[in-house]
Subunit: 83 residues, 2 copies
Amino acid sequence: MKFIAHINVMPLKELLDPQGKAVNSSLHNLGLTMLHDVRIGKHITLHVDAADKADADAHVREACKKLLANQVMESFDFTITEA
Amino acid sequence: MKFIAHINVMPLKELLDPQGKAVNSSLHNLGLTMLHDVRIGKHITLHVDAADKADADAHVREACKKLLANQVMESFDFTITEA
């Protein structure tokens, strides 16, 4: 079966996010002062060939832990849908 | 009212995504050959102070168009939830 995974990798809440801070300032300079607490991470989509959803889940989790997220600085979550 | 926006900014399907291609190769080198068609974009979360959800939607859309997404190369979508 074919699945699509949507993965979010975000900087941990405890850490500074300088890119988010910079974008926050830029938004305020544009007059959008009602927007705040900007945090910026990565959104990754990928296709998975797997026997079932649990199998796809295991493969995506392995990919996140081994390559996609640096768990010292980042957290990840994902959803898997049938393609 | 306070809302939280979750924004995804992704490279357009028609364009090459060199970062995604590189990650795809790395996943295959790690033995995760069941994963393919990797595409990498940005995930942005921010807080919105707005009168109602429609108002929050309008502010976030303006932020995406003016700053967060380059619509020549990227598409965006977002969801808004109450904080």
